[in-house]
Subunit: 338 residues, 2 copies
Amino acid sequence: MEKQKPIILTGDRPTGSLHLGHYVGSLKNRVEMQNDYKQFVLIADMQALTDNAENPGKVCDNVFEVTMDYLAVGIDPRKTNIVLQSKLHDIAELFMIYSNLVSVARVERNPTVKQEIKQKGLERELPLGFFSYPVSQAADITAFKASFVPVGQDQLPMIEISNEIVRRFNRVYNCDVLKECQAVVPKVGRLPGVDGKAKMSKSLGNAIYLKSTEKEIEQAVKMMFTDPTHLRVEDPGNIEGNVVFAYLDAFDPDVKAIEELKAQYQRGGLGDGVVKKRLREVLQELIAPIRAERSRLEKDRGEVARVIRAGTEAAQETVAETLQEVKAAMGIDYKAIW
Amino acid sequence: MEKQKPIILTGDRPTGSLHLGHYVGSLKNRVEMQNDYKQFVLIADMQALTDNAENPGKVCDNVFEVTMDYLAVGIDPRKTNIVLQSKLHDIAELFMIYSNLVSVARVERNPTVKQEIKQKGLERELPLGFFSYPVSQAADITAFKASFVPVGQDQLPMIEISNEIVRRFNRVYNCDVLKECQAVVPKVGRLPGVDGKAKMSKSLGNAIYLKSTEKEIEQAVKMMFTDPTHLRVEDPGNIEGNVVFAYLDAFDPDVKAIEELKAQYQRGGLGDGVVKKRLREVLQELIAPIRAERSRLEKDRGEVARVIRAGTEAAQETVAETLQEVKAAMGIDYKAIW
């Protein structure tokens, strides 16, 4: 009999195709983790709607986009459940139940929510759903009984709220139905944007997508930020803040060769063109098979749909079980009626 | 073929047995309305939990209590669906969807929520679920496609928020799936407590319950607040603020006789004892058959359970249909997948 693997929950808001930043920050890990964990990858469409209520079409379209990205990078539906959040209605109930165990003041104190509100300029007309999403995330995490949740440093306060809810629930209902989870902050650094900004992001328009064409990759590398003071080949160049080297570090497996290139660049005598050529080849090699698999899937949406359906249906069982345990612990399962 | 009756939604938080205040304020109307409307009576256990999270046992027990009260006063399960809220998981989803269409600021401005927060002393550690309940109520109302919702004057701002959500939803998703409802404020006045306080309420401890024993009724009438300045039979007495007359107005069908009694009381020459005797008889007559039916039901909890189950299952269909229409209007029904 197979040993029970620990459960890990990851996911994305489906608001755009995934890019190299996602690849480095999470997708690559997921492809590895699916061997050691029981992995659920949640396509958080309900959460995406909390700040995209006026544009549900975007969210829906990106459910397919994101799933194709997942499959194309090697997330294997035989090992990983790809799950569509809006089809897990039991999570909505968990959310309502947990909402009674968290104060408005506690949510307000959450620094991640504070910052996002500021970033999105939502101060005045912040949707209640967006405000409440830490609690909805706690519902996700606990619904799957996740032991591990990979998150960025900035999302740690979310995990804190979730674990607080777990402790409060178990204390109030004198049980141990819910389990605290452990945040896993990936060791890999954040991938900068092609423009040198600290973060690759769709909204900043500085991303290389997993579905990029050869030409788009070439173009992106060509325009890529290097060292603006490195004007002549013979001049010494800076590698800090130099996006080309950051990407080589992230994607070129030949660490030794890269170290030599870096030394030469810093000494002087190595032009941006040469380094960019190497990066271009590395990226083309990385993305070519992803693009190929993705375009195969584009032509077989039925397969993509089947993957989502199967992953979601398997998750529904897990989540239904959790909700049932939660209601039983609270004594609101109405056994005398149903 | 039966003409489609307009839908009316009423309900209670199951936090205690129902009393004469409920009878006058809503139950009596419901017994009449079930002939002219398609009536859903919602036992709002999820909503009761928003400020009773630490005591779900109380809520559960009162689901049976309240249902027995309903049946005992003449709410007829062949005409009215008695519905248990927590079994309508689609309402939780509607709630999440609507939460994205209402701002935190808008909920904060709601005067009913403000007042209840104050009453319950929840200012600082207000549960998020309690804060959000106007949106949850909008989910209830729209889920049933209710045209009419009987509410007290103080609940009118709730109906306002619900209709705002309806208009916002239809505008944002360019549809007419949701319908605004009309608040119905019953003409009957509020029944004072036996102690003369303006409102009969469980928490004030001044209520006469529908399940009262003969002795409890007798006791309640005996202690009932009349006119504290009316010391001798021959003195003129006040009928304003006099609970005995308020109850006679509410429950004695012989309006003419009551008018005569009032005149005599005001002139002087009518003792409290005589008026109280009349009220005692009226209340005993009113409550005796309710108590009898209730005690029959106490012995047949299976029947009560069947009523709740049947009413809830019928409601589930209505609510599921609404959720499906809502998701279709938003384009998040994922027809390509399911």
